[in-house]
Amino acid sequence: MARIGVFVCWCGENIARHVDVEAVASGAATLPGVRTALSYKYMCSEPGQALIRRKIAEEGLDAVVVSACSPHMHLRTFRRAAEGAGVNPYRVEMANIREHCSWVHHDRGEATAKAADLVRMAVAKARLDRPLEPICVPVARRVMVVGGGVAGIQAALDVADAGHQVVLLEREPSIGGKMAGLSETFPTLDCSQCILTPRMVEAAQHPNITLHTYSEVEAVEGFVGNFRVTVRKRARYIDVDRCTGCGQCWNSCPSKKNPSEFDYRLGQRTAIYIPFPQAVPARPVIDKDACIKLTKGKCGLCAKRCEAQAVKFDDEDRLVVEEVGAVVVATGYRLYDPRTPAAADGISGYGEYGYGKYADVIDSLQFERLASASGPTAGEIRRPSDGAVPKSIVFVSCVGSRDPAKGLSYCSKVCCMYNAKHAMLYRHKVHDGAAHVFYMDVRAGGKNYDEFVRRAIEQDGARYHRGRVSKITEREGKLIVRGVDTLAGEAITVEADMVVLAAAIRPAEGVERLAQKLGVGYDAFGFLSESHPKLRPVETNAAGVFVCGACQGPKDIPESVAQASAAAAKVLALFSRDELSRDPEIASVNELTCAACFACERSCPYGAVERAELRNGRGEFLKRTARINPGLCMGCGTCVAVCPSKSVDLDGYSETQVYAMLKSLT
């Protein structure tokens, strides 16, 4: 027979005011299996815990029910206390008579009755708690950082500098991410590439960092401390080890008129190319759809020119497996596409702005390239349609952002700042140019941020109009921008040579698929979910997987970098342990009754179910069965629900326990 102690907390007045704690305790004393039941002012206080420990000793208790606050508040506390007195921590239950009772029910009779029920349920459960031991798993001290933007690079360098191996994964041919394409950065206006490139090189040359560019995550197995990540290295058609990056190949490539991804289609590149001069690694890739050799079978000039003989047209995708103990996701963002019609994900665009229709309506990242010294116009602001220098530019804020009607309700956070920056840069380069900014609100929270915006307006003469742009049309090579100035309360029309749309920031393409592979949650917009918005900002609900940068939500550079270092710190904390102990409240299979239909396997979010064979003492085959890998099981219990013969059960929330709780309510 279980020997249970029930400890009812007053929580000062918090519980006692509305719940007759004495009555609850004396009622509990009569329950089957209960040896002692008493109440105390503050159970979580040191004397309260001491009381529990003493009673455990005196009454030889083997299970404890604390009737107090939420288990999310103090279950750990009381488990530790009970363990200290020799009771298995997993034989401690809590009845939440504060958050779920005294704080929400003020009729003393009702509250007390409910409290009694909650205690009865907890006792019924505690009676059936099996003593459990934490599961220990070794930690592979090696991290994979997914995404080679500024956040990823930062995280990688921090961990690598601490002396641990890092695998840095980048989907593009070069690391650097969005920041590598920016012109100058607010609020200091220092050159983006100038500060980033050294870090890129450092990452590439760091003895502890293995770089996989032009690569993506194919599959993820395993669990915290022991992930097996399969990486797809896309065919580059270049032997990276032989290639010296001399440039002979791309200089000789006849296929020159391919839109440059790096310049957001404002510039062109050859079929064999490096995305930008400072690319890391400085090794080209061949665009197999543009390459004449690969499409038509002719040409092959690059190969002829390559002294290192690094060009290999027969290259293929390769899968490599990396074993790591933790994963940092830093996949960054993409810009919202302002075109209509609605994309598959129900995010619709602004057809009325004519993006994609008028060559001179561009988005902010395209403008960054125009303003960048390494850009297609070598830093001169020239409009795409005819290369003329625009005499007036309209910058439109909140294109997509803060607009639930378009499917995005959030603020993209950085637009206000870069709009000001863009206006400024434009005015610096085109002194007689007119910079109009249509905005909803100017959000310039941050060190020297507001000052920066004010500078744009006051010193650099950017003209700010508070209001949305309703329509953009074209007339005789001019863009007619119609909008309202809600402050002046009048409709205004601006004739512009160019329009720059501050399109919303969205998570990078395909991040949902990655999240599913990693078991990380994501919100309706595809931004990855942190464990706790305040207290665990870089952790996720998938143990051992961390997030940083814009994949978690819109961020500017300093924030992303800070978060990257935070993620690195978490990784290092994880790596400071030889082995991890995991919660043992997991599923297990009754292999004798399992029908081997593997419904559990299909429904397990963690791939923790294995197909196994049951053999007798002499090793003869008896039957097939499902088996749970305790290392992988996270204890969600979905397998229990789908098992037709109920041959799977979940410790801590077992069938017997749930039914016992129901019975305790009869």
């Binding site: 009569t30 019975k663 305790s664 009869t666």
Partner: protein
């Protein structure tokens, strides 16, 4: 000379019983071609002809499929037991088939063996069985192969034998039965007549001989593959009486009940140790046959089967006892030959 009752008079009589608040049960149509013994709500629903046999049997009225044995209440660490009240209500089963009625005296043996089963006894007392002799039969019927027949009187209190379209002869066999009918019959000069029933399908003596030697015999495998292992045969059977005892209740207390059970279920004999003497369906089929045709007769002198054929009629794969017994007597006729290879 004999006693007779016109059919509509009989229906009226049933109506009057119901009016008196008596519990009356009889054949009722519950679906296309499906007739069950059911408690009657009105005499109109009573079905007297147009079907061969009910799917279920009348045993349910003396041995319900679910019966409280007693109740228990938790009183702290003590327990209070409340004996189940004895059945009080008189009940009349009308339109029973002879093969149903005949099962009752057979069941009496086991329920009275050594210590009598109280509630069974009580229900037997309270139940009056009005049997209707069979004019029709089907391939499944084999009463005549077991020295029974379409007007077997065993277990009946009254036997009705059809005289013509309108009238039944009323033969009362017990005072209980007489009391029910005595003031409601008219004199008739004709007696009810019915045929000789289904042709004999196997030789009971041969069966006896076979069972004496062949506990281990391939014949038991013969039908095992086909048998699905459900309990339809046992539950539709007038004589099958295996039961289970379980508790039902909540945290305050509950009932200990007995439920029908069947030896055809794989778990029927599963021991706590995990050992199971009958792991194969063949063994379970064998047990059913042996229990009915050897064990029970040896112990109590009666065959635990009345040849109603329900086990075959209700069987999802038309198995049941008869095909097995036919196969056996086929073997007995030419003992040297092996059993049919193909089930």
């Amino acid at each position: 000379m004999s006693h007779a009752i016109r059919k509509e008079a009989l229906r009226a009589l049933v109506g009057s019983w119901l009016a008196e608040g008596k519990r009356v049960a009889g054949p009722v149509a519950v679906g296309p071609g499906r007739v069950l013994y059911q408690p009657l709500v009105s005499p109109e629903r009573l079905l007297l002809d147009g079907f061969i046999r009910t799917v279920n049997s009348i045993k349910a009225f003396v041995f319900p499929r679910h019966e409280e044995l007693y109740a228990y209440r938790f009183r702290g660490r003590q327990v209070e037991l409340i004996d189940a009240p004895l059945p009080e209500e008189e009940q009349i089963v009308i339109g029973a088939r002879p093969c149903d009625a005949a099962a009752l005296p057979v069941l009496d043996h086991v329920f009275r063996w050594g210590t009598p089963d109280r509630s069974y006894e009580r229900r037997r007392e309270l139940t009056t069985v009005v049997t209707l002799a069979c004019r029709e039969y089907d391939d499944h019927c084999f009463c005549t192969s077991l020295d029974s027949g379409p007007r077997d009187e065993r277990g009946s209190d009254v036997l009705l034998v059809e005289i013509d379209e309108e009238t039944y002869e009323v033969v009362w066999l017990t005072s209980k039965g007489k009391d029910l009918f005595v003031r409601h019959t008219e004199r008739a000069d004709r007696k009810g007549t019915i045929g000789t029933g289904p042709k004999r399908k196997f030789d009971a003596a041969a069966l006896e001989r076979f069972l004496a030697e062949n506990f281990e015999s391939p014949v038991w495998e013969t039908f095992a593959l086909r048998c699905l292992g459900c309990g339809a045969c046992a539950y539709d059977c007038p004589t099958c009486h295996c039961f289970d005892i379980v508790d039902e209740g909540d945290r305050h207390g509950g009932m200990r009940v007995r439920n029908w059970d069947s030896c055809q279920f794989a778990l029927f004999t599963l021991h706590a140790s995990g050992h199971n003497p009958r792991t194969a369906q063949a063994q379970r089929i064998r047990q059913r046959i042996y229990h009915k045709f050897r064990i029970y007769p040896d112990k109590f002198g009666d065959t635990l089967c009345t040849g109603c054929g329900n086990c075959s009629r209700g069987c999802p794969v038309h198995l049941g006892i008869r095909p097995v017994l036919e196969a056996i007597s086929a073997l007995e006729r030419k003992p040297q030959s092996a059993p049919p290879k193909t089930p």
